[in-house]
């Protein structure tokens, strides 16, 4: 559907900035550069992964069951967003809203748990300024968290966009980009969970 619109626009030489394949392609490119950003942060965490200085080690604080719950919240939110996209392709506005609302709640719960975890760690004396290890820990995990928060704000805006225009070409392209973004953050979290928490708990 989208693709046909854009193909015609391209063939007649019309400049295509309507919700279409260029936008999604551009968003892929954005995600690739974001991947490099996270790659640098992972490398940074690896460099400082034992730089505890006089502070405490990561494994003294890592609470795996807690993080596992966080992980499942985010993984399930990826599935529910996938359901929202299926509803979008069926042009079912109510279905999109329902599944996106569930996704939003799961994402929000994830962020709430992360904020609680950070507050707890700082309270226990494992703060960003304690040592290079904790600096690297907080920056990597929080950068992911800030991205998720950005995704939540985006979702909130999407509810208004959907209320105004329904599932038109612009909104479909936006939902597709947001879908890429959300799944991307899920993949990054798998990396964070493995590198920071699982390896850290060893």
């Amino acid at each position: 559907m989208n693709t046909t619109v854009v193909k015609t626009a391209h063939m007649t030489g019309n400049y295509s900035h309507d919700g279409g394949s260029s936008k999604v392609f551009g968003f892929w490119i954005y995600i690739l550069q974001d991947l490099f950003l996270f790659a640098t942060l992972f490398a940074n965490f690896a460099v400082f992964s034992s730089a505890y200085d006089t502070g405490s080690a990561g494994k003294d604080f890592i609470d795996l069951p807690f993080v596992l719950v966080e992980t499942f919240l985010l993984l399930f939110s990826s599935i529910t967003y996938g359901f929202a996209m299926i509803q979008m392709h069926r042009s079912n506005l109510t279905g999109v809203r329902l599944w996106m609302a569930i996704t939003f709640l799961l994402g929000f719960a994830f962020i709430a748990m992360e904020v609680y975890e950070f507050a707890h760690l700082i309270h226990e004396g494992a703060a960003p300024w304690t040592s290079a290890y904790w600096s690297a820990f907080f920056v990597l995990v929080a950068t992911h968290g800030i991205h998720v928060t950005g995704g939540l704000i985006w979702m909130a805006c999407m509810f208004i966009h959907l209320a105004l225009d329904g599932l038109d070409a612009h909104n479909n392209a936006r939902l597709t980009c947001l879908s890429l973004f959300w799944h991307f953050l899920d993949i990054i979290w798998i990396g964070v969970f493995t590198v920071v928490y699982l390896l850290g708990a060893l």
């Binding site: 063939m11 936008k23 954005y30 490099f36 460099v47 400082f48 730089a51 290079a132 805006c157 966009h161």
Partner: protein, 672 residues
């Protein structure tokens, strides 16, 4: 409430009070700026400026704005350069020799490097991308016109922020890559490094946006029939340069953000205590910094690959080897970063690897130089100004590359490291390669953008001033480096060095004359523009003759929609094929053309990000919160209220525009 303004250590106005040079400069800038505003008001240009430039999404106008910004920053960066050259020419003796105190001198060399790379070369690069790439691939705009406008205004915000540091507070005294621990809070407690961090962060965001845009544009918007291997080489180098940007700017963003965390939140990434490691920063900035050199120089190679065939009246020699060489450089540029710090003590294996990788990179570069030479071989070479710049580039850049190979030899590098030999080397490649190449492009595409060529005689004179001035200014530095002079010297005790520094100063002044002549060329065109009340008449499409690519098939300056009909491409050098074949210009039955709508959101977001950057530098936390939320809000509001459907230029208007051009060609007796 007033953040660091109330902190005497931050010295908000100390430079204005203690440094007469700064006071005079700021006064002159303010007076000139005020006069400019008065002039615009008096001439009633605000409306035109707002509608046609500030809110524009037309890639051609955004390109011109980028280039204007770059030229202004060139003057700023060059002023720093000439101050350093004058100072070092008289700095024999103690700390009070010369006319700049260490505190001021250190800020000048830091500002010079930072401005020249991030706010002169990069905007000039994006100006050329913007103007030329969509025209070369037969498109009507870039893939994301709003992003393009936004990117320009964020670049502008970064440039303004770095210049505010001249008057309010200080700039860093840390060199253009701000090595910690000197750039940490303990080493640089005032605002200098913070100006550096936030203006670069803004520039980085804008550059990344631009790169996303150009990769999408080149991949998705080529004219029908233009396969990748039929693209002009400048588009290839643009693509590779932007892919490099997408891979390296995130590293810079992270490095800057981590240093911000150190300075603002007391973290321990690059500090000496708390488990931090300053060498990590040095690795990050060079993993960014070395490919950045190729980001800048590859498009210059692309420009030569366009200009040399045009002025040799021959097809480019070895198109596919050109493309291959660019791709090889893309890969190799990631394997050489540690050659910037062989003295780190990385061990024999590490240093040998980076040493050999560095030597190998000379091979694809050599391939390109040979291709240009073979293009000229048996061609009818015409020494117009763009071609002069290209010849100057080839001659000079090869020399700079050779001293680079000298530096790549690890044991020799231990002698050259941080000496003026190194300074001479990278200016040799950047002025000889990047600047000469970009100026070739600027002079070459100028008549496309404005219909008239830059004054020929002044152009030739400007080239020779740059060329001679460059050799006089930098060859003494090679000698000084071998004599043991290190870089960034505020004073020296060795009398035998002084004559060389004086020669270098003379060279810098000759380059200065070259810049003045270019400014004079531009003033002549501005007066031509004013005589025509800003409405430039159309001129012939192919003013140099024998041009080969699509941008030369449409009128100069091009209509806002670029191509009345999107051309179908069958070969490399599409326009050349049209000229050789019996392809007649289509005269009628045009369709309406879909165009993107203007928007002011980019401008407001840029202004808000400037305020955000300033507030972050001065710890005005309330302003940080307000401007941050406002920036996000502007973007979100734009997503609701912006006109995302664009508008149509009616077929009758297209017809009129094309008829006017056809009438011009007929009157001048030019074959369409």
């Amino acid at each position: 409430m007033f953040g660091r303004f109330t902190d005497p250590a931050a010295g908000a106005f100390s430079a204005l009070q203690n440094e007469p040079i700064v006071l005079y400069t700021v006064s002159v800038v303010l007076v000139l700026g005020f006069l400019l505003l008065v002039a615009i008001t008096f001439l009633g240009w605000w409306g035109v400026l707002w509608r046609n430039w500030i809110t524009t999404v037309d890639h051609k106008r955004i390109g011109i704005m980028y280039i204007v910004l770059a030229l202004v920053m060139l003057v700023r960066g060059f002023s720093d350069a000439i101050m350093m050259r004058m100072h070092q020419a008289m700095a024999l003796g103690g700390e009070n020799a010369g006319y700049l105190l260490p505190d001021h001198y250190d800020q000048i060399f830091t500002a010079h490097g930072t401005i020249m790379i991030f706010f002169m070369a990069t905007p000039l690069l994006f100006g050329l991308f913007n103007y030329v790439v969509p025209l070369q691939i037969g498109a009507r705009d870039v893939a994301f016109p709003f992003l393009n406008n936004l990117g320009f205004w964020i670049t502008f915000a970064g440039a303004v922020l770095i210049n505010i540091s001249l008057g309010i507070g200080n700039f860093g005294r840390v060199g253009w890559l701000a090595y910690p621990p000197l750039s940490e809070l303990a080493g640089s407690p005032d605002t200098g490094v913070d100006y550096y961090l936030w203006s670069l962060q803004l520039s980085g965001i804008a550059t990344t946006m631009g790169a996303v845009n150009f990769v999408a544009t080149i991949v998705k918007m080529r004219a029908p029939g233009m396969t990748m291997m039929k693209m002009p080489v400048f588009c290839w180098t643009t693509l590779v340069s932007n892919v490099l940007i997408l891979m390296i700017y995130p590293v810079l963003t992270v490095a800057l953000a981590l240093l911000v965390c150190d300075r603002y939140l007391g973290m321990h990434f690059f500090t000496n205590d708390g488990g931090g490691n300053p060498m990590t920063w040095i690795n990050y900035v060079w993993i960014f910094g070395h490919p950045e050199v190729y980001v800048l120089v590859l498009p210059a190679f692309g420009i030569l690959s366009e200009v040399v065939p045009t002025f040799s009246s021959k097809r480019l020699f070895g198109y596919s080897s050109m493309v291959g060489a660019v791709l090889v450089i893309l890969v190799l540029s990631f394997l050489v970063w540690a050659h910037h710090f062989f003295t780190m003590g990385g061990g024999v294996a590490v240093n040998t690897f980076f040493s050999i990788a560095t030597m190998i990179i000379a091979v694809p570069t050599g391939v390109k130089v040979f291709n240009w030479l073979f293009t000229m071989y048996k061609g009818r070479v015409r020494l117009e100004p763009p071609m002069l710049w290209c010849l100057g580039m080839m001659f000079t850049f090869v020399g700079g590359g050779l001293t680079g190979v000298m530096l790549s030899i690890t044991p020799a590098d231990w002698q050259f490291h941080n000496s003026l030999f190194l300074v001479a080397h990278f200016h040799h490649t950047i002025i000889g390669g990047v600047v000469f190449g970009y100026l070739a492009g600027l002079v070459y595409w100028f008549p496309k953008a404005f219909g008239v060529k830059l004054n020929h005689k002044l152009g030739v004179a400007s080239f020779w001033c740059w060329f001679v001035g460059f050799y006089l200014a930098f060859f003494p530095l090679y000698i000084l480096g071998l004599m043991g002079a290190t870089r960034r010297l505020q004073h020296y005790m060795e009398p035998s060095w002084q004559p060389y520094f004086i020669v270098a100063m003379v060279g810098a002044f000759i380059i200065g004359i070259g810049i003045l002549l270019t400014v004079l060329q531009l003033l002549l065109v501005i007066s031509y523009g004013i005589r025509h009340k800003g409405k430039l008449p159309v001129h012939e499409n192919d003013p140099w003759g024998d041009a080969r690519t699509l941008e030369w098939s449409i009128s100069s300056p091009p209509p806002s929609y670029n191509f009345a009909r999107i051309p179908t491409v069958k070969t490399v050098d599409a326009y050349w094929a049209m000229k050789v074949g019996s392809n007649k210009r289509k005269a009628g039955s045009f369709a309406k053309i879909h165009m993107p709508s203007n928007t002011s959101a980019g401008f407001w977001a840029g202004i808000l990000m400037l305020i955000l950057g300033f507030a972050l530098v001065w710890h005005l936390w309330w302003l940080v919160i307000i401007s941050f939320i406002a920036t996000i809000a502007v973007i979100i509001i734009h997503s609701f209220t912006g006109n995302h459907d664009g508008y149509y230029i009616p077929a009758t208007e297209v017809q009129e525009t094309e008829d006017r051009f056809a009438a011009y060609l007929e009157a001048e007796g030019i074959k369409a």
